[in-house]
């Protein structure tokens, strides 16, 4: 009976039922088998109103829509070409750096693609990068900065680990250490991806569609800077606000939204007041789709935890693993699988308390574990079925999830190489710390 219901859900998913309905169906089925009143679905969905970071999603999304409705992409393209166009794969490099910074700032809530993807994709395509390559680059870069200060997932890991350090025999886990430890791995990912970009687009020149390289021109750089004068202070406002202690992340998002609103509507005057409500509404339709999936994922996660599924999964693995290397390999596989299914915050909250004590027994440094954890989850953003970057890119670029996933595969492989290096060479994470 239950098996039939599960098969039916899978069939409906393949037939094209909205993902939220499938997840809800799975959660409802699970709770039903446990004899729990289904009002629990309501309670879990209401938990959506319980997050401090989540507010950043609608606000950054709105700011991103405003930026993409005005000519910011052109200004950004001009400026980055002026600054980095002389490098091989200059625009790809710009994309990587910009995404990493933006994701770090927005705490991995998935808004990078909204705010930056809409600028970078047209710029990349204009710069003669193949469309499929560009889509893959932007979609997979949308979670690149999760290991950089002030990323929220790393912070959440740190808080959970600190709570546990009281009970366990382990070195202390300072948040600052985690951010220091994340630095080199994040740079490694950027360097490897950049290397891949240069290598992948080398063929284009041979095929007769060379990616134009722009000779460096100081005058052009100054002009481009002046043209972008109202938008350039934005990163300074956001970074400065957070580091000076003026703003928490969600507030930085509010300031960004207001700042961009003023800049595009009143300073650049590229968006009329009359067009504003429609832009607000359209951006919030997209946010609604994502928030709904997040909400029902909360219900599904609740079912998993309630039924003790993660523990069962883990005990199973624990009984079959002996060496540290074997544990790390399995850890990577498990986290990649979890990343494919769960939202990053849910995965952290559920899995860190389960994995940390065991990892300590295998002699893994808790700071290193944090970096491994988040690096894994970063790849989870582009793995189906639950890959936030795929969903957001799908909304933003009006592409199929399957098509987007196909375009991210080479980038994912590069990221997995980086992940393996990060996992098996602890010094990459720890040399700034210990």
């Amino acid at each position: 009976m239950i098996t039939i219901a599960i098969l039916l859900l899978i069939l409906l998913a393949l037939m094209g039922a909205p993902l939220y309905a499938i997840i809800l169906g799975a959660a409802a089925l699970g709770f039903y088998t446990l004899d729990i009143e289904l009002a629990v679905l309501h309670i879990d969905i209401y938990q959506l109103s319980n997050s401090v970071v989540l507010m950043a999603l609608p606000l950054f999304t709105f700011a991103g829509f405003l930026l993409s409705e005005s000519k910011t992409a052109d200004r950004m393209l001009r400026l980055s070409q002026a600054a980095f166009g002389w490098m091989p794969g200059g625009m790809a490099f710009v994309s990587l750096i910009a995404c990493a910074f933006f994701t770090a700032l927005t705490g991995g809530s998935g808004v990078t693609i909204v705010a930056l993807g809409a600028l970078l994709l047209p710029a990349l395509v204009k710069g003669n990068y193949p469309e499929r390559f560009s889509l893959g680059l932007v979609t997979s870069s949308g979670s690149l900065g999760l290991l950089l200060v002030p990323s929220v997932p790393l912070l959440i890991y740190g808080i959970i680990a600190q709570q546990m350090s009281q009970q366990l025999d382990m070195p202390p886990v300072e948040i600052v250490d985690l951010y220091l430890a994340g630095l080199v791995p994040a740079l490694l990912m950027i360097v490897l991806l950049y290397g891949y970009c240069v290598w992948a687009t080398r063929g284009a020149a041979k095929a007769g569609h060379p990616i134009p390289r722009q000779p460096f021109d100081f005058r052009e750089l100054v002009d481009a800077l002046w043209e972008a004068r109202w938008e350039l202070p934005l990163p300074i406002v956001v970074l400065g606000g957070i580091f000076s202690g003026f703003l928490v992340v969600s507030e930085a998002a509010a300031v960004t939204a207001l700042y961009v609103l003023v800049a595009e509507v009143f300073l650049y005057k590229e968006i009329t007041l009359r067009k504003l409500p429609a832009i607000m509404r359209d951006s919030m339709i997209m946010v609604g789709g994502i928030l709904l999936i997040l909400a029902v994922a909360l219900a599904f996660t609740d079912y998993l935890v309630y039924a003790g599924v993660p523990e069962k999964l883990f005990t199973l693995i624990q009984t079959h693993v002996e060496s540290k290397i074997a544990f790390l390999i399995l850890l990577n596989i498990l986290l990649l699988l979890l990343g494919a299914l769960l939202d990053i915050f849910a995965a952290l909250v559920i899995m860190v308390p389960l994995i940390l004590p065991v990892a300590l027994r295998y002699g893994i440094d808790p700071v290193h574990l944090g970096v491994i954890f988040v690096a894994n989850m970063q790849i989870g953003y582009i793995t189906p079925p639950v890959g936030m970057n795929l969903f957001i890119a799908s909304y933003r670029f009006k592409k199929r999830v399957t098509e987007l996933f196909a375009s991210t595969i080479p980038f994912m492989l590069v990221l997995i190489v980086a992940l393996l290096m990060i996992t098996y060479i602890p010094q990459l994470s720890l040399w700034l710390v210990r």
């Binding site: 679905l41 997050s51 789709g289 928030l291 709904l292």
Partner: protein, 164 residues
Amino acid sequence: MTALLRWLHRIEDGLIVAVLLFMILLAVAQIVLRNFFGTSLVWIEPLLQNAVLWIGLLGAMIASRKDEHIRIDVASTLLPEKYHPFLTIGVDLFTAFICGLVAWYSVGFVIEEYEYATPAFAEVPSWLLQAIIPVGFTVMAVRYVLLFLMALVGKRPRMQEPVA
């Protein structure tokens, strides 16, 4: 019927724009209060957090008008267009059923919450903040029933990947 729909659309659009505007203004007001006046208002934080829920459900309701939800559509890419109505009929009925199921239990819970009369914060009753969940899922359920009916007469919008 059309007039009713148009009103509903207007209310949804108006609400979602208003909630977003309030969100920006309140958050900025809180920042100004804290950094320049060294204080903060108790009710702003919970109100902002609930606004996220409202935006989520209002957005989801609007997205259901033309079924612009995230999906994995393997079948519609593989099958020729003429079979698509068979897909949508099954899918729409299922989605309407699931939305209706949530709405049903949600209504029950919110009524109970009303009877418990727990304030969420300040004087705002928590049932009012939660009410968007049953309302949202009811509207979505109705919309999928309508989509199902439209498919029967061949007027359903094409099943598609979301278009924002």
